[in-house]
């Protein structure tokens, strides 16, 4: 049972504020992913929880107890580093046994625990090897084993698979998830890779420039981004964000993008939900799958020309010229032959997001 709570945490490196008033509650057994670009403060946050970094203000609680005065060694937390940092002069066995040797456990206890962890991670046959003889994936398994063996209160992982190649990364992602389900310990995982975050997390914490942007389940941050940063950071291909003008028509509401002649049709309910934000301060966000295309003229679809087509195997991304803007749409592969084709597009109102351009905040319009 381990809960971790951060309350009003601030951290400065000289004059630079790397963490700004961070508040976060992490439940027992939860898999939390801190997601953000490099330099956003996610790793510093993780290191602060581990006790490798001091904080300038605020409190960190582990199981309700403040831990600022505790050294890293006394917080009973394990950490997996991006570099794995296996001790090169020790065998795999010694590496995994190392955290246990700091405790008063007997040799036989240590031996049985090392072997049981090695069995879980399927690295029993590597125990006598030196870290330099291991592959990247195996190094990471050993690093995780070293973290698990102590049965710590919480596991912290700092981009643990960032150094692996793409295929191995996918494998290890699944393995980490499987391991978490099996072992069930509170885990905080730092990454800049939103696919990793989406696939692993119970909840994702998105940070930008030291400020927490949104906390939510993968589905929440994907389908209800709190602001423009989250909207564009999460999801691949990236969400289209463009200036939009809203105007009332006889039967509905028209949303014009890029000064195009014809606007996209939206239900009347949009007006009331926008709550007076209809002026020039509006940004429309729509994921490529929310841009629907037909090849023949259809009621409610606006004629547009295709620009660039990116075939991605299972689907294509087609750039549509809408006025001065380009909207990226996701289509079946081969749906559009090439540039300069006339197609008919519509924006799915239920997938549209509206943001206040000045603050970047979502207007929470759900149609």
């Amino acid at each position: 049972m381990t809960q971790i709570e951060l309350r009003g945490v601030q951290k400065f490196f000289g004059a630079v504020q790397v963490i700004k008033d961070l508040n976060l509650k992490i439940a027992d057994n939860e898999f939390i992913v801190l997601l953000g670009q490099s330099g956003c403060g996610k790793t510093t946050t993780l290191r602060a929880i581990a006790g490798l970094e001091t904080i300038d203000e605020g409190d960190i609680f582990i199981d309700g107890k403040p831990v600022q005065h505790l050294k890293a060694a006394d917080r009973d937390i394990a950490m997996v580093f991006q570099s794995f940092s296996l001790y090169p002069h020790m065998s795999v066995y010694e590496n995994i046994a190392f955290p246990l040797r700091a405790t008063r456990k007997s040799k036989t206890e240590i031996d049985s625990e090392v072997r049981s962890v090695a069995k879980t991670l399927q690295i029993t046959d590597l125990l006598d090897k030196k870290p330099s003889a291991l592959s990247g994936g195996d190094m990471q398994r050993v690093a995780i084993g070293r973290a698990l063996v102590r049965r710590p209160k919480a596991m912290l992982m700092d981009e643990p698979i960032g150094a692996l190649d793409a295929k191995l990364r996918e494998e290890m992602r699944a393995e980490i998830k499987r391991l978490h389900i099996k072992q069930g310990s509170t885990t905080i995982y730092v990454t800049h890779d939103q696919i990793e975050a989406m696939s692993l997390a119970d909840r994702i914490v998105i940070m930008h420039a030291g400020v927490l942007q949104q906390v939510g389940t993968p589905d929440e941050v994907y389908s209800q981004p709190a602001n423009l940063f989250v909207a564009q950071f999460v999801g691949s291909p990236v969400m289209n964000v463009t200036d939009a003008a809203v105007a009332e028509t006889a039967s509905s509401v028209s949303v014009t993008v890029g000064g195009a002649a014809a606007g996209f049709e939206f239900p009347r309910a949009l007006l009331s939900k926008l709550n007076g934000h209809a002026g020039g301060q509006l940004a429309l966000g729509i994921r490529p799958e929310g841009v629907l295309i037909r090849r023949e003229a259809t009621e409610g679809f606006v004629p547009v020309d295709t620009h660039i087509v990116e075939p991605l195997g299972s689907f294509d991304i087609v750039d549509l010229k809408v006025g001065t803007e380009l909207l990226r749409a996701r289509t079946k592969s081969g749906f559009v032959a090439g540039p300069g084709e006339r197609v008919f597009a519509r924006i799915d109102p239920t997938q549209a997001h509206f943001f206040d351009k000045a603050s970047g905040k979502s207007l929470e319009v759900r149609l």
Partner: protein
Amino acid sequence: MAAVQTSGERALNKVAIVAVLLVTIIFLAPIYWIVATSFKPRNLATTIPPTVMFEPTISPFVKLFTKRSQLRSPPSAEEYAAAPWWERVVFDGGEKIVRDGKGQVQWSGYPSRFLNSLIIAITSTVLAVGMGTFTAYGFSRFKVKGEADLLFFILSTRMLPAVVVAIPMFLMYRAVGLNDTHLGLIILYTAFNLSFSVWLMKGFMDEIPKEYEEAALVDGYTRMEAFFKIVLPEAATGIAATAVFCFITAWNEYAFALIMTNRRAQTAPPFIPSQVGSGLPDWTVIASGTFLFLLPVAIFTFLLRNHLLRGMSFGAIRK
């Protein structure tokens, strides 16, 4: 094809091998000379042209370690027969070994000077490398105010040629009673080597990823334990290299040893050339003293050769 050598390349290879051999011979010649001379009978040491083929004798070493006096007349047959084999070679040279009233062999000054050299060089090396390692770790891992200035100050202690301060040092040492003491030379050599040791170790420490210690800190160890269990084994290569350099400097130091010591704490370097036989300098004894003096550095470097070859710790961390 890279594997196939043209005749031009083969010729170039041969030239290179010859050049390497020549350089090796030039470098090894003085060492050969010292070793050869230390096994020569005295009358062959300074012949012109030099004697290359000779019957090696142990007499220079016997003379090196003992006090002797000139024989007025050749030893009697009983005396000769009673003497151990190594003493006879001295008789042959027209000298005899001085014994005290109990018949004990009187030692020359060499063994104690050699011991002094060992004590002073080893102690100052341990101190300089130890303090240098700690200091370098501090500079490498913690935010030190004015770090660049402090490091520059440490380096600046080496900018003055050491002999320039010889006379003030001598006066200061005499005032506090440190001249001709082991402690005096140990302090001196440690101070000389410390700046070098700090700078060299700082380079090695910077190369050890700090994640190693952080992993140990999170795994339940104190900073001190992490230092001794993780950092020190990783720094072994650097420590070995630094120790070899510090040891060589302290071991070979001549000027200060000559000025600061005369008997009790005298080291081998000033003692060896001061050795004269009865009458003219006996070059074979000086050569044998020098030969033995060369051995510790050679042995020390040989023992640490694996550490001096870098690359043991590579590959365990992904960058």
